[in-house]
Amino acid sequence: MSGRTLFEKVWDGHVVHQLPDGGPALLYVDLHLIHEVTSPQAFEGLRLAGRRVRRPDLTLATVDHNVPTGDRTLPIADPIARRQVELLIENASAYGIPLYDLAAPEQGIVHVIGPELGATQPGLMIVCGDSHTSTHGAFGAFAFGIGTTEVEHVLATQTVVATKPRTLAARFAGRPAPGVSAKDLVLALIGQIGTAGATGHVIEYMGPAVRALSMEGRMTMCNMSIEAGARAGMIAPDETTFAYLMDRPRAPSGAAWTRAVDRWSLLVSDPDAQYDLTVEVDASTVAPQVTWGTSPGMVAGIDGRVPAPSTASTAGEREAIQRALEYMGLAPGTPLEGIPIDRVFIGSCTNARIEDLRDAARVVRGRKVAPRVRAMVVPGSMMVKAQAEREGLDEIFRRAGFEWRNAGCSMCLGMNPDILQSGERCASTSNRNFEGRQGRGGRTHLLSPTMAAAAAIAGCLTDVRQWTLADPAEAEQVEAAR
């Protein structure tokens, strides 16, 4: 018998009951994250059936999807959004579920605060009514998004019914060039395998370029797994993981910490483990990536051009490219570098953690946002925001002309007032460039935080590799001398 993958080890540890004949398994859920948009109907179903929440202690709630990112002292203007937030508060209180509401210093995007609180840990089984739950796999957890009926199922039973996915090894060899981030690596992978390339699979990211990433980078990578169609993304925990988790509020401490690290260290794929698919990416050849279409797989290096529909291999893809170019207002053959933009959004569960903001600030420091461009930074959580303010990053952004806002999903999905107008073109660090995602008729180009920051300054898509960045230490001295 061959060895087991990281995923198989975590899966095996959570099987409550295996249905016969290769059917699905009932898996135990260690952590159930909930938010205001996909939970109201689940609580309603629970109430109608007279059921209770089985493990409120393993459930954690926050508000993120529709919350305004402006002045928090005002009531939410949108009455329906307000109702969703109020309902979550009522439900959390009725069932005894810990909640980080708008007033909480820990409030933020559910996939940012889980790790930040130390609730996300290696080896856990984590679900949430949100597709980007794959983010938590960066810690070696098995984490995936579920629908609202499944949210109700987890609330009632603390289990989820799941068919065992296949495995895909994504190996990133080599060292990425300066200016090339985790976002670029994962976009390059999606460009290579397509948005359905990993459907039915769990991706395990591995190789030296993945090992070299910070936890923030690993979270960005796992976050985007769903954009390749994957059920989940995972990275084996190591010293980087343990260093991130140490002393976090919900992480173990003292002797329990040592025992936890010993256990977590076993969460690696065995050397002879078999994967159903293997994909190789040479990180050293990846350029900063920018999407040009309406699907994350429609992506190219910043030194590339908008492709022609005739380059597609199937009729379906040809039509998709045709439609995408019409929607995006782009002509085949246009160089990506130099495409003018109207808006810049630095935020989302993909790229709004402290390291993302530090990286973007290195580009922005001492520069000004281009006159026509409206740019905003929406930190992933109020703790990220507070940390950034302690480091003076807010001043760097503000001085350059960025709006500095409160935490939430914001313009990633445009459920709150932060949306694009029709025809506006946005350089965005979020995860989806779907038609209308950021506002009806809005045109989204996905890219990394440094690429977004550079686009804000230049007023167009630009290659951040050509830019001189502020050295963090040196910049501090300049600041102090002023």
Binding site: G23, Q84, G147, T157, T199, A256, E319
Partner: protein
């Protein structure tokens, strides 16, 4: 949940690949706290022009797709967001079955939870169905049988499909999954006891 056994109905063809759940139900309609009321917003940005009138070019607005209950869709249908509002909207509009070469995982599960049958067919079979739907002068009809796991059009088109038995049984009988899982309460309770013992050891 409404059981699904055999369904005969009119076909609407949407030959676009990678249709994401943001297209199926745009986010501005996700603020409802009920499971109903999403049908009128289905495919909103494609279905209506900016002035709010139906766009006659959109496939679902064509006369022969009127009253459609079976959707022919391009590959990777339902990708993107996990929003169950997508199958709620499709179901409320009247769709009982969706036929495609492939579906995104979460959307597939969500559809099954709502009595909407996602049918995976081969690329060649889908191409033939798209061709027949387009060539048909009036409405094109199909019969989808979950009992037989077949799709037929009464004019020599027959395709077979497969589905995981657990999901098939749930759809055929319209079973409530929570009630089904709670039959395993002793196994859940036993797992929780083992889990608690492990945590007690780790945290001692």
């Amino acid at each position: 949940m409404t059981p699904f056994r055999v369904h005969h109905g009119i076909v609407a063809a949407l030959p676009r690949v990678n249709v994401d759940t943001d297209q199926i139900i745009p986010k501005q309609f996700l603020k409802r706290v009920e499971r109903t009321g999403f049908g009128p917003a289905l495919f909103y940005d494609w279905r209506y022009r900016p002035d709010g009138t139906p766009d006659p070019v959109f496939e679902l607005n064509r006369p022969k797709a009127r009253g459609a209950t079976i959707l022919l869709a391009g590959a990777n249908f339902g990708c993107g967001s996990s929003r169950e509002h997508a199958p709620w909207a499709l179901g409320e509009y009247g769709f009982r079955a969706i036929l495609s070469e492939s579906f995104a995982d979460i959307f597939y599960a969500n559809s099954c939870q709502n009595g909407i049958l996602p049918v995976r067919l081969r690329a060649q079979e889908m191409a033939e169905l798209f061709h027949r739907a387009a060539a048909s002068e009036g409405p094109y009809h199909l019969t989808v049988s979950l009992e037989e796991m077949s799709v037929v059009d009464g004019d020599r088109f027959t395709a077979r499909f497969t589905m995981e038995e657990y999901r098939r049984a749930a759809l055929l009988e319209g079973l409530d999954e929570i009630a089904r899982t709670l039959l395993h309460e002793p196994a859940i309770a036993a797992f929780e006891r083992r889990r608690a013992a492990l945590h007690a050891r780790l945290e001692a």
